[in-house]
């Protein structure tokens, strides 16, 4: 079912938790609400679930406004970070609970519970109490309970955050697989950007209750609308350097007391229309910075290696030049050592953000 949030605002006392949020979630898609904790993403989810009532705005399921519909009539399944299983009921009773409330007959309930628990591979655990289950098993039970009544929409509130790292990676791909198989419209809340990138069809990045960007993972990575999205997405985060832009002899340069980069031609064209912008933030992702021992070219004069961190397949190298710091991910074969002087080259895209508004200067308004 298609979900539409139309100018949603939620105010708790004096705190504006969600501010004028507009979001359209297509049928059968998995959309992630992503943001740091306290940004209003869970509040948004609870409004969609019907537990909170929006202060302003309308929530549409399909072609119906559901603002006044209680949670039980919304045909949704909900999984909490804590799983919120009923501790006094067995796994079977937990999963069967929504069906019992719908007054379905016993055989039907048995059949459905068996089916969903086989699907999620928890059919061996049906007689246990939640406290006797591991975190991963509890999570599956919670998902089973959410799915057993065949909801139109599945809501997941940080469903993987209580699992250990290895299980988390496994479960997120399983959740994605399950979602695609069932084709169920899913809204997934998380603060983990890598989790969001791997499962989402589309990601809504939220900060302080305001939607920052709503687009696919690729676009979020390649064309962040502002500095917040740029630094929030990607790990390790994008390098940001303060400075200004200047034209010299028809060429465009980024300058600060320590560095001087010439900027690509295609940036020049865009920036010419915003000539009044002078103070900028320069951004480049660590994986797009290459280091070399070659002779200096004109704008990449030697940097000093401050720190080398082992990241597994790659090395995270911290470079400095004066007060400017730059991090780069390089192959292990380089084997740099601290104190070495190196030169840098940008192999990928560079970004420029307005210093005041934080907006990406390369995005159209």
């Amino acid at each position: 079912m298609k979900v539409l949030l139309d100018n949603i605002t939620k105010i708790f006392g004096r705190i504006i938790a969600v501010n004028n949020l507009n979001l359209e979630i297509d049928d059968g898609k998995l959309v992630v609400l992503l943001g740091p904790s306290g940004c209003g993403k869970s509040t948004t989810l609870l409004m969609i679930a019907g537990i909170y009532r929006p202060t302003e705005g309308e929530i549409w399921f399909g072609d119906k406004v559901v603002n006044d519909l209680p949670p039980r009539d919304r045909k949704i399944g909900l999984v909490f970070q804590s799983y919120a299983l009923y501790p006094h009921m067995t796994v079977f009773e937990n999963i069967a609970f929504p069906l019992r409330l719908k007054k379905e007959n016993k055989e039907e309930i048995n059949r459905k519970v068996r089916e969903i628990s086989e699907f999620l591979e928890i059919n061996e655990l049906l007689e246990r109490k939640p406290i006797q289950l591991s975190g991963g098993q509890q999570q599956r039970v919670a998902v089973a309970r959410a799915l057993v009544k065949s909801p139109d929409i599945l809501l997941l509130d940080e469903p993987l955050s209580n699992l250990d790292a290895k299980l988390r990676v496994m479960m997120r791909s399983e959740l994605k697989k399950m979602q695609m198989r069932l084709g169920i419209t899913t809204i997934f809340v998380t603060h983990d950007q890598s989790e969001a990138m791997t499962v989402a069809d589309k990601i809504a990045v939220i900060k302080n209750g305001v939607l920052q960007q709503y687009s696919s993972s690729d676009e979020l990575y390649d064309l962040p609308r502002n500095i917040f999205v740029a630094t929030f997405i990607g790990s390790p985060p994008m390098n940001i350097i303060e400075g200004s832009i200047q034209y010299e002899g028809g060429n465009l340069f980024f300058l600060n007391p320590d560095v001087r980069f010439s900027l690509p031609k295609d940036l020049e064209f865009v920036l010419k229309q915003k000539r009044n912008t002078k103070d900028v933030l320069f951004g480049v992702r660590p994986e797009d910075v290459n280091i070399s021992m070659k002779e200096t070219t004109q704008d990449s004069i030697s940097w000093i290696i401050d720190m080398v961190e082992m990241m597994g397949r790659e090395l995270l190298v911290t470079l400095s030049r004066g007060k400017t710091i730059l991090k780069t991910l390089i192959d292990r074969e380089h084997s740099p050592s601290i104190g070495d002087r190196v030169n840098i080259e940008f192999s990928g895209r560079v970004f420029l953000f307005d210093k005041e508004s934080g907006k990406n200067l390369l995005c159209e308004e």
């Binding site: 399944g77 909900l78 929504p98 939640p130 591991s134």
Partner: protein, 313 residues
């Protein structure tokens, strides 16, 4: 003489070494003991607890036995079996000139008081505990603080004031009046207990039940109530015991002997005569204990059964 010193030194060294070894061994032994210590500890604590509880157990045993015996050897060992002491169950007791009323209406009074206090306390404190735990309203903190203050007052301090209040609202010399006072004075504590239990039920669980299809009543019935069971058991036990054992308010506010309860009845058996019939007294006392024991047995399981699972942080 020449090589004596080195020898001595060597000996000394050996001495040190063996001491060290010994110390090491001792440490090992201590560590070894630590493993078995818990079992020994268990035995010791069992013995200590047994010793402490023996006098209590013996006095109850004495009470029970003496209620069934006509004569006690030195007041300690029962000699012959009789049901004479239990005659209050089927006939009114006559002591000198005073004819005591039958025990059954008095028992009924006591039960009525105990159950009424239990019922209203559980009802009111679960509702108020829910409100204090779940709703954010003006004056919530003040109310919570005031319940604590009220709880801190000893009931005796309020005796005269309550007497006037009961007199004014014409509830003096009625069981209803005593009930009202008991309930009012005990609600603060039980409310606080219940609030603690509600605080332990996560919002997520309640919300989940809404999404699963519960209305408010069903959430209360199927999710909250089962999780609240130990709390309800606790407050109903407390309130039952306090209602059943109430003496002071009955003694002060009730004048008609037909309206008294077992506690004051028991008192009157002791108080009114120079010669106390210990056999009768112990039989009545045993009779007085039965419901308490039963109530405790029934609530004990719920009291011990605390289940807040489904959560792994």
């Amino acid at each position: 003489m020449k090589d004596k010193r080195p020898q001595g030194l060597a000996k000394h060294k050996v001495g040190i070494k063996s001491k060290r070894e010994k110390r090491g061994k001792r440490a090992q032994e201590v560590r070894g003991e630590a493993v078995t210590f818990s079992r020994r500890n268990e035995i010791i604590s069992t013995i200590i607890m047994t010793i402490i509880s023996i006098p209590i157990f013996l006095s109850y045993l004495w009470l029970f036995l003496s209620s069934f015996s006509a004569k006690m050897w030195h007041g300690l060992i029962p000699l012959s079996f009789t049901l004479h002491n239990w005659r209050f169950l089927w006939e009114p007791i006559k002591f000198g000139a005073v004819m005591h009323t039958s025990i059954w209406p008095i028992t009924l009074n006591t039960l009525l008081l105990a159950f009424a206090v239990t019922f209203f306390e559980v009802l009111i404190s679960t509702l108020s505990g829910y409100a204090l735990s779940r709703f954010r309203f003006k004056g919530r903190v003040v109310i919570q603080g005031m319940t604590m203050i009220l709880h801190a007052f000893p009931g005796v301090a309020l005796l005269i004031a309550i007497y006037y209040v009961l007199y004014t609202i014409r509830l003096l010399d009625t069981l209803w009046g005593v009930m009202l006072v008991k309930i009012a004075l005990e609600i603060p504590m039980s409310t606080n207990i219940v609030k603690g239990f509600f605080d332990n039920i996560p919002w997520d669980v309640e919300w989940s039940s809404f999404v699963d299809g519960c209305n408010r009543w069903q959430t209360w019935r199927y999710v909250i109530l089962p999780l609240l069971k130990p709390g309800i058991a606790a407050i109903s036990l407390f309130s039952f015991l306090s209602g059943w054992g109430e003496f002071l308010y009955i003694y002060t506010f009730i004048f008609t002997s037909k309206k008294q309860t077992l506690a004051t009845f028991l008192n009157s058996l002791v108080g009114e005569f120079k010669f106390v019939d210990y056999g009768l007294l112990s039989a009545v006392a045993t009779f007085y204990m039965i419901p308490t024991l039963l109530f405790f047995i029934f609530t004990q399981k719920a009291l011990l059964q605390m289940s807040f699972g489904g959560r792994k942080a």
